[in-house]
Structures are given as C-alpha cells and as structure tokens.
C-alpha cells in the first residue's frame, strides 16, 4: 500500500470516528477525505499536532457505554445541557481558556460524569480542545476512558522527578480530548496538590495551547482541604448536587467553603427523565 493510499484510508477512518460538529466559520461541511483538511483549516497550528497522537477513536456504542455525550444525539436533552454549559463557561471566560474544578456536594453525586461530559462538550468544538485531569485520588474514574491500562498519571508525575508532562497526557479516543489519570493507585499524600510540581503542571498545560480548556475532576466537598488547594489552581469551581440526595443545607455549606470569585455555579445532576422508548 502506497503512502497516499494509507493517508486516504486514515482520512476516511478519521471522518467516520471523529465527532465533528459544524462550527461558526466552517462554512463547508466536512466531506469524506477532507476532514483532516477541514481541521487544519480551522485550527492551523495546534490541531494537526494533536491529531498525530490520536489513537483509534471510540465508536458511538463505546461512548454510550461509557456515558459520554455524542454530538450526533443533538436532540438529547443531556447533550443540549452540556453544550449550553460549555457556551456559558466560554462566555464567562471571555474567550480565554480556563481551568474548571468540578466537585461534588457528597460522594456519588456524579462529579466525574459531569467533568467527563463537560470536557466532551468542549471537544465537540473543533476550535477547542479539552484536558481532563483526574484529581480524585481516592475514587478515580478517568482511567476507564483510556484504552491503554496502566498508563502513567498524576501519582507517577509526583513521585518520579524525571517524568515529562507530555508522558502523562493520554488520548482517550475522542477527538480533541486528552486526559491525565490518577495513575497507579497507591497512596499519594494529597499535599502534592499544593506542591510546586502541581503548580508547574497546571501552568504548563494551561499555557501550552490557548484553546485548551482544562477540567479538573475533583474529590467531593467532604475533602475540603483538597478542594481549597485545587480551587487555588482553578479559575472556576462547579459544584455538582444530586437529585434526591443533596440537601439545601449541604449545598449552602459547600458554597460557603468556596471563594465567591471562583464559584461559577451548581449542576443539579441526574434529574429523572422519561426517555422516548420506541
């Protein structure tokens, strides 16, 4: 197979598997064989560079199984909500990229679900990329998005001085979507979050790409010390409450613990919805 044929087949695959949403400015819808070109046109500097590292993209059934929203289900209320949320955050940040810490009122409120899907919503936009950092050391969840098990993550980064930042950023099989997992699960003191390494990591990932939105999947609000440390690294904090689980008293307590400047909003998660059953 010649190089040209290989490139064509890769382009076709990319067209099939990459979720591309039409964005303002992209007047021509991507056609088979031109997806990569379209990407290049939209984001001339960064996107092609990232595309080089893309692994095989996840199919719709895989995404559905992982509980990640897909742009093709645009009529799904959940998809609409996450898109709207993304738009509001972009409005708040006035076009600049931002670090968003997502935390839960209590364990089991679905902060990871919100964080993963918020990142996916950013990745919908071909002009934006998303980096999800799993900061929930005691109950990590981002690793299940990765095809490759045992990839190095935060813990390795903190423990090994010679590990490069790029080595811990993993592709997740969704276009423009990267993740940093917690790494191998052994006990890591949470004090690392306030270390210089953590600050350097955050500065690096934030400054490297101006269109990259960084979402931190934080521990629940019960670990208030971690939340305070992590919120120092973040621009905005989103608090996730759960239907029929969180009380007003709990929410008020959480909101009082977070600085008003950074507090962006509340996500009321898992409201029951009767789906259309065909």
């Amino acid at each position: 197979m010649s190089k040209i044929e290989k490139a064509l087949s890769r382009a076709r695959e990319a067209e099939r598997d990459t979720q591309v949403v039409p964005v303002a400015g992209a007047s021509v819808a991507p056609t088979p064989g031109t997806a990569m070109v379209a990407n290049r046109v939209t984001s001339p500097e960064t996107i092609p560079h990232m595309a080089e590292n893309e692994v095989r993209l996840l199919g719709p059934s895989d995404l559905a199984q992982l509980g990640i929203i897909q742009p093709r289900h645009s009529e799904d209320p959940a998809v609409q909500v996450f898109r709207e949320l993304r738009t509001k955050i972009i409005e708040q940040s006035q076009g600049r990229n931002a670090v968003i810490l997502v935390t839960a009122v209590s364990t089991g409120c679905g902060a990871s679900f919100v964080a993963q899907n918020l990142a996916a919503a950013f990745a919908f936009d071909v002009g934006k990329t998303a980096l999800l950092i799993d900061c929930n050391l005691s109950n990590p969840s981002v690793h299940r998005l990765l095809a490759k098990a045992g990839a190095p993550g935060l813990t390795e980064y903190f423990e090994k001085p010679d590990l490069e930042i790029k080595e811990i950023i993993q592709p997740v099989g969704i276009a423009r979507y990267r993740a940093i997992t917690t790494g191998k699960r052994y006990e890591v003191p949470e004090e690392h979050f306030s270390s210089g390494k953590m600050r350097r990591l955050m500065e690096t990932v934030r400054q490297r790409y101006s269109e990259r939105f960084i979402i931190m999947d934080g521990p629940p609000m019960s670990k208030i010390a971690d939340i305070r440390t992590l919120s120092e690294q973040a621009d905005y904090v989103l608090v996730v409450a759960h239907y029929a689980r969180s009380t007003n008293a709990q929410i008020t307590k959480c909101l009082n613990a977070i600085s008003d400047k950074k507090l962006l909003g509340i996500i009321f998660n898992e409201e029951p919805r009767i789906p259309r059953i065909r």
Binding site: A78, V81, E84, A244, N248, I267, F268, E271, P272, P275
Partner: protein
C-alpha cells in the same frame, strides 16, 4: 418554598418514574390487601319493618293537664329501651338460635351488644316506628326483625296497660288519703266549736268594754282605799297624843306644885339658916311627905289598873273617846274597800282570760277551715281524675288506647347490603394509585433532599445553575424497556386477578 401546581405535577411525574418499582409494589400490595379484605368481609343482610303507632286521642282530653303526649323522639327512645331490654333480648337470643352453642354469661352479653349495634330504631314522621336489623344470614335477619316488631308491640301494650293500672291505683290511694284527711279536719272543727262555745257568743267589743269598766272601778276603789288609809294614820296619830284619863294627873300635879313651892321656900330659908334650923327641917319633912303621897298615889293607880276596878277618881277623856270611835269606823271602811278591790281584780282577770281564749279559738278555727277547704278541693279533683284513670285503664284493658299496625312487614332480604366485593376491588385499584402518589407527594413536601432543579435556581444566585437530566445509555434503555414491560404486566395481572375474583364471586363460586 411555595411551588406552582405545574411544578409540583412535573416533580410528581418525575418522582413516580424514579420510584416506579416502589409505586408498582405498593399498588400490588394495596390491591392484594383490599381483595383479601373483600374476601373475608362478612356479607350483611338488612331486614326492616315499619310499625304505625296509633294513639287514640280520647285519652288526651280525659287526662287534660295531668299527662303529656309523647313525641316522636321520645317514641324512638322508648322503643329502644323496650326492645333492648333484657326481657325481649333474651327471647330474641333464643329465637335467633344464638343459645344453641350454650354461651357463657359474658358471651351472651357480647352477643347482645352485637345485636344492639346491628339494630337501628328510628321514627319516620310522627307515628311510624322503623326497626332495621342487619345480620350475616338473610333468613335470621328477616326472622329477628319480625320478632322484634311483634315483641315490641306486645310489650308496649302490656306496659301501657300496666302503666294506666298503676296510675289508677295511685290516684285511688291518693283519693282515699284525702278523704281521711277531710274527715279528720271535720272532726277537729267540731271539737273546737264545742270547746269554745262560751266565748263564741260574745263579741270582742263587749269584752273590751267590760275590761275597761272593770279597770276603772278597780282604780276608783284603790283611790278610796288609799284615802281611808291616810285617815286611819291620821286618827292614830291624834289618839296617841290624847290621855286616856284626866283625874289622876290632876292630883299628882297638885302634889308636885306643892313640892316645888316648898323647895323654893327651903332654898330661901337656907340663905338665912343652917340645915339644923327647925324651919328647914320642917320644910324638908313636908317635901318628904308630899313625895311619899305621890308614890302612894301611883301605887294605888297601878293596883286599880291591874284589878280592873274602876277608880272613882279616874275620869275618861272625851276627845280620846271621840277619836277611837272615828278610828273604828274608818277601819271597817278599809276592810270593805279591800274586799271589793279583790273581787274587782278577779273579775278583771276572768274577763282578760276570756278575751285571750276567744282569740286563740278564732285562729285555730281559721286554720282548720283553710285545711278543710284545701283538702275538699283536692279531694274533688282527685275524684274526677280517678274516674278518668278508670276510663284509661279500661281502654287499655280493651286495647283501645294504643294500637299498633304493621305498616310494612319485614321481608327476606335477597341482596346483601354494605360493602360488596366489587367495592373492595375498585377501591383497591383506586387506593393502589392514590396511596403511592400521596406518599410521593408527602416525600416531595417533607424530604429536605432536593428534587427540583427550579428550587435550586430560585435559592442560589449564581452565574450558572444547570439541571442535567439522566443520560440514558442504550443498555439502560433496553433494560428500562424490559422493566417497564414487566411492571405493566404486573399491574395488568393484578387488575386481572381482581377482576377474575370478582367474576367468581358474582357467580357464587367464592
């Protein structure tokens, strides 16, 4: 927080979907419980009868003012008292076959209480009494109702007859008592009249006049007596001042005059002579002779007085005599006056006591007359009433006073009354829906855990407040489809089972 009705409805729908298994579970449990209750719920049959109570109005004019007509409320209360009385209940227990199992005393009491609870006695209009009895057996419901009516009529007629007999007896006894009282009062009046015969003729005015006259005479006599006594005292004083006799005082006086002359002469002689002078001695001797003469004169007078002989030399004093005479007359007058005074005072006392006697007699007479009149009135009234009571008694004896007619006889109830099986089935379905909804609504209201996104949006003023609905994965949707199908099947099966049981019940298999 106050929620709009549509918000609540929406939240309720969400909540019902969220807790669908619980809702269906409650639905099934409630249905099963209601069907089970329907199966064990005893059927009850009600029989009723109406009695027309016709109270002839002859009695009312007869017993005018003495009796009050019974009203409808009293009638149903009376009927309840009569029917629930021990006598009728015992007969009904026997008749209804409750005694076949030979229950203990306590059990009998319980059975009686149950029968009482199942019996309703009411009045329809003024004169119709309605007896309703409910039982699990239609046959017994009918028979017991019929028996109640029959026993009630018998008992009422007997009670009425006994009542009027008792009333007659009572009035009869009262009449006798008053007759006795009247006779006694007449006797007393007669006695009183004969006892006060002497005073009864005189008038009060005469007595007063006589008493006044006697008082005047007593006062006059007392005045006279006091005057006579004053005269008496005066005469006494005068008589004591006068000598009884005059002579002897004369002779002794002469002697004392002579002695005084001689003593004067002796004093003169002593101026010139010694005591031994013959003249002085002579004079002394003369004085001695005169003193002796006085003494002898006195002695003689005493002797004369003692012997009672009249001394010729003594002469009675005429003034003294006069005084003595007057004194004597005065004394006899005093005695006469004293006697008269005593007599007058006795008369006065008599007259006063007679006046008093006359007054007390009058008071007693008035009292007796009053008693007599009262007793006579009551007696006459009682005589009239006794005759009324006799008429009532005879009427009741001949069943003329109170008659009963069965207006609507008891019939054998064919269909059961009260809750039926179908009611339980329908109620089960309704409650099976309402109870879970009610519980969910209560949870929505009282559970502090948030169930509405709008609630958060209203409570917190933040740039972003987003409600994320559940994201259904295809696997979840598949299992949800299965679950919903299963839940629907369970509900349909529950309703079908209830309907099947109702049908079986209807064709009397169950």
């Amino acid at each position: 927080m106050q929620l709009a009705p549509e918000q609540v409805a929406r939240a309720l729908v969400n909540e019902t979907f969220h807790s669908r298994r619980l809702v269906v579970g409650i639905f099934v449990v409630v249905n099963a419980a209601m069907v089970a209750a329907g199966l064990v719920w005893p059927k009850s049959y009600t029989a009723s009868t109406s009695i027309l109570v016709d109270e002839r109005t002859i009695i009312q004019p007869l017993m005018q003012g003495a009796a009050v007509a019974t009203d409808a409320l009293d009638r149903s209360r009376n009927a309840r008292e009569v029917i629930f009385g021990r006598k009728i209940m015992d007969i009904v227990l026997e008749y209804g076959g409750w005694l076949k199992a030979s229950p203990s005393v306590e059990e009998r009491e319980l059975i009686i209480e149950e029968i009482k609870k199942r019996t309703i006695i009411s009045t329809v209009g003024k004169n119709i009494l309605r007896i309703e009895y409910r039982d699990v057996e239609p046959e017994r419901a009918f028979r017991v109702t019929e028996k109640f009516a029959e026993l009630y009529m018998q008992e009422s007629i007997a009670a009425k007859a006994a009542e009027s007999k008792a009333a007659f007896d009572f009035i009869e006894k009262q009449t006798q008592d008053y007759q006795d009282k009247l006779t006694r009062t007449e006797e007393e009046l007669k006695e009183l009249r004969s006892a006060t015969l002497d005073v009864s003729a005189s008038k009060e005015g005469d007595v007063i006049t006589r008493v006044n006259d006697l008082r005047k005479r007593v006062e006059a006599t007392q005045q006279e007596l006091r005057e006579a006594e004053v005269v008496e005292a005066s005469l006494e004083r005068q008589a004591s001042g006068e000598a009884e006799t005059t002579t002897e005082n004369l002779r002794e006086g002469q002697y004392r005059t002579r002695i005084a002359e001689l003593e004067s002469k002796l004093d003169t002689l002593r101026l010139s002579y010694h005591d031994t002078h013959p003249d002085i001695i002579q004079v002394k001797q003369q004085i001695q002779a005169l003193t002796d003469s006085i003494n002898s004169e006195r002695t003689r007078r005493e002797q004369t007085k003692r012997s009672g002989r009249r001394d010729e030399s003594v002469v009675a004093n005429p003034v003294y005599q006069q005084l003595r005479r007057e004194q004597s007359q005065n004394q006899s007058q005093i005695e006469a006056l004293t006697a008269r005074l005593a007599d007058l005072q006795r008369q006065l006392q008599d007259e006063i006591s007679r006046g008093k006697r006359m007054h007390s007699g009058d008071a007693r007479l008035a009292e007796l007359t009053r008693d007599y009149q009262t007793n006579r009135d009551i007696y006459q009234d009682l005589l009239r009433r006794r005759e009324n009571a006799r008429v009532s008694m005879n009427m009741d004896r001949e069943h003329q006073g109170l008659t009963f007619k069965i207006q609507e006889p008891a019939t054998l109830p064919l269909a059961p009354t009260g809750f039926r099986f179908l009611h339980f089935v329908l109620g089960g379905i309704l409650l099976g829906v309402l109870i879970p909804l009610g519980l969910l609504l209560a949870r929505l209201q009282f559970d502090p855990r948030i169930r509405m996104g709008s609630e958060i949006a209203a409570a917190y003023n933040l740039p972003i407040v987003t409600v994320v609905p559940h994201l259904w994965s295809p696997t979840e949707l598949k299992s949800l489809r299965r679950e919903l199908a299963l839940l629907t099947l369970i509900m349909v099966a529950t309703i079908a089972a209830s309907a099947a049981l109702s049908a079986l019940r209807l064709i009397k298999v169950l």
